[in-house]
């Protein structure tokens, strides 16, 4: 009689037991999952709720000129922001703050409309401008500290230095862009505990990964030479009516670019000037047909290959006709003339005869060796390689003649400057560069080591320098003479190719002069290029005087004593 209740009780006990085992088993399983397999995930979720990460901006590196003068510096600036939701009267605040920041009151009032909590009122202003705004103590107006890139010397070397983006201080042009990664450094991180209201918990968790400051750059630019070159080019632009121009000063032995000037220019501190053609670094990025300045390459090829000597005589005709093109000289060169005289007087016909003697293959080989058709590798963004077609693509009619006198080849002013620098450096081409050294945040210095290659023999180079001196002494470049110094160079006056009309212009030219100073112990090459001058529209009359002025200033700055007999 008592067995059934006993079995029923036992059954229920077993069932409860099983339930308890299952329940505790489930709890144990969940515990294992939470504390074991997913422990890290839940810990991260917890940390994300109360740990706040803040990026610590790295100080952007400073850019110096060759003498340690600051060209680009990052300083702290004040940014005025508004939280319109804190303003009891948005119109009043807009009208009171607008004159203090130089903005239109109506525009500010429109910006304050809506539910936005953040409006920029003025960005990166000086403390002197921000002080009256602070003193006004307007509701809803707050102040932030932002890094601001400043260029103390204004437009000096602006094309070289470039500029940065306002918001993130990232490079957009020039050296600022080329070396952006080195200049930017590495941002750090700040981890702090915050309460649900976002306030930092005192004495809570605190971890900081310090930012690594950006590297500083020391440029090869000498500010005094840069300034004088800018003044000389500006005066030449006004005198000749040129629409644009470039001047380059290069140390022939090291490849350091002591000055790089372009006109028109801009002021990187004034965003309004950062428009259009003013931003182009024509010395590096613009290509042109070098014309007579490239004749020196034809002569170098002929002498170095042993085809001619400086005294080899050519009987120059009145004109040379090739296919449908007639070549002439601008002056009377009819009759026998030596190679030196051909260079001195920049004879097209004489140079064509020399070019045809050495042939397309040899001429192309030397053009390529001097750097035509390939980028110099200068540490500047956007450098083109120019154009030099392989000899098998040269037409059998006029191509050799045209190429001999500097047509059918496209080069940049920098490429042409380095041709003359190679000649001045005993026949050794040295890679041009704008940065002398990079200094890391911990003070370690990494100097630039330029590439080198021999182009012509030193004997050939010596002969060419004598020819270049003759150009200035008694040839087409007499206006390039520098009082007290022996210099040499080559003029160039090239018809400008009109891409719209697909033919050479009848009126516009590119006037150039590239010279070496001093000629007996070369220190620098100076290249001057004027685009479309209307007055003194030739290399000898327009560009050569610029060379003279810049060369005198450069030699004085470098302490080169006069050497003229």
């Amino acid at each position: 009689m008592y067995e059934q209740p006993r079995r029923g009780l036992e059954t229920r006990l077993v069932a409860v037991g099983i339930l308890l085992v299952v329940a505790w088993g489930a709890v144990g399983y969940r515990l294992t999952i939470v504390q074991g397999a997913q422990a890290e995930e839940f810990a991260d979720r917890g940390r994300s709720q109360w740990l706040s990460s803040q990026t610590l901006a790295a100080d952007r590196g400073t850019i110096f000129d060759a003498d340690g003068r600051e060209l680009a510096v990052t300083v702290d600036a004040v940014t005025v922001v508004a939280n319109p939701t804190e303003m009891p009267d948005r119109g009043e605040v807009a009208w009171r703050i607008a004159p203090l920041v130089g903005r239109d009151p109506g525009e500010l009032y429109e910006a304050f409309q809506g539910d936005t909590h953040f409006v920029y009122v003025a960005r990166q202003i000086d403390e002197a401008i921000a002080e009256p705004i602070r003193q006004a103590n307007l509701p809803g107006i707050h102040f932030l500290v932002e890094p601001k890139r400043v260029y103390p010397l204004g437009s000096l070397a602006a094309h070289v230095v470039g500029f940065v983006q306002t918001d993130e201080n990232r490079g957009l042009e020039g050296i600022e862009l080329q070396y952006d990664e080195a200049l930017a450094g590495t941002p750090g991180e700040l981890l702090v505990e915050r309460d649900p209201n976002g306030r930092v918990i005192p004495l809570g968790s605190y971890d900081v990964v310090p930012a690594e400051p950006g590297s500083d750059l020391v440029l090869t630019i000498v500010s005094e030479i840069q300034y004088e070159a800018e003044q000389a080019l500006a005066d030449a632009m006004e005198r000749t009516g040129a629409v644009a121009g470039s001047v380059l000063v290069v140390d022939v032995e090291t490849g350091e670019i002591l000055a790089m000037v372009n006109a028109p220019g801009f002021d990187p501190n004034d965003r309004a000037t950062l428009v259009g053609d003013a931003l182009r670094n024509r010395a590096v990025t613009d290509v042109f047909e070098p014309g007579s300045t490239q004749k020196i390459v034809t002569i170098a090829a002929a002498i170095d290959s042993g085809s001619v000597t400086a005294a080899t005589s050519f009987d120059i005709p009145e004109r040379i006709e090739r296919h449908d093109t007639t070549f002439e000289d601008s002056i009377d060169m009819l009759g026998p003339h030596t190679v030196t005289e051909i260079v001195t007087n920049s004879s097209n016909l004489g140079t064509i005869l020399i070019g045809e003697r050495i042939g397309a293959t040899t001429l192309h080989r030397y053009l390529d060796a001097f750097g035509a058709g390939r980028a110099t590798g200068v540490d500047y963004p956007g450098e083109p390689s120019g154009l030099l077609r392989p000899p098998e693509e040269w037409c059998a009619t006029t191509c050799l003649a045209g190429t001999s006198i500097g047509y059918r080849v496209s080069v940049t002013p920098l490429q042409m400057a380095m041709v003359y620098a190679a000649i001045a450096n005993g026949g050794v081409w040295v890679q041009p560069h704008l940065v002398r050294e990079v200094i890391d945040g911990d003070g370690a210095s990494r100097p630039t080591v330029p590439a080198e290659r021999r182009v012509v023999s030193s004997e050939t180079a010596h002969i060419l320098l004598a020819m270049l001196e003759a150009v200035v002494d008694r040839g087409t470049g007499t206006l390039a003479a520098v009082p007290g110094h022996r210099v040499g160079g080559k003029t160039g006056t090239t018809e400008r190719y009109d891409f719209e009309l697909q033919r050479y212009s009848d009126t516009d030219v590119v006037a150039s002069f590239i010279g070496v100073a001093p000629i007996d112990n070369p220190r620098v090459v100076i290249a001057v290029v004027l685009d479309s001058p209307t007055n003194y529209a030739s290399g000898g009359k327009g560009a050569a005087p610029v060379f003279s002025r810049v060369a005198l200033a450069t030699l004085n700055q470098l302490g080169v004593p006069p050497n003229a007999p």
Partner: protein, 137 residues
């Protein structure tokens, strides 16, 4: 077999009759331990509070110092900017022009025979050069 007389047996006392007697000395030692522990705890707590106060004070001092460093850093960069602007070639050229320090329109090169070489008569040559230079406008 030994007979035992009932007179040698004592009654087993009841459980409740046993009690432990603790003397006054033993009682003080036990209390003293607790008192000492309490005092130690209070001292440690006070030390903790004092150390936190000191930490907070130093934190304030550090914050003041960091603020001063930031101010001096900003001043340092302001001065560097000022120096850079003072060294601006454009500014120096303007001042030079205002002082009349400009290249003359006609540049004359003076060539002095033997200048730079040592030997007999060098003093006379230098004297002549000085006279020549002093005559320049």
């Amino acid at each position: 077999m030994v007979a035992r007389s009932h007179a040698g047996l004592r009654a087993v006392p009841l459980r409740g009759d046993f009690h432990v007697v603790i003397g006054p000395h033993a009682r003080r030692r036990r209390i003293a331990h607790w008192v000492l522990l309490a005092i130690t705890g209070c001292v440690l707590f006070l030390l903790l509070v004092l150390s936190r106060i000191a930490l907070d004070r130093h934190a304030f001092v550090m914050e003041d110092l960091e603020g001063a460093i930031s101010t001096e850093e900003a001043r340092y960069w302001d001065l560097r900017m000022e120096v850079a602007e003072l060294r601006d070639p454009a500014r120096i050229a303007r001042m030079a022009r205002s002082l009349g320090m400009v290249y003359p329109d006609d540049v004359r090169v003076v060539s002095v025979p033997g200048l730079g070489s040592s030997g007999f008569g060098i003093e006379e040559r230098w004297a002549g050069l000085k006279l020549l230079l002093s005559a320049q406008p």
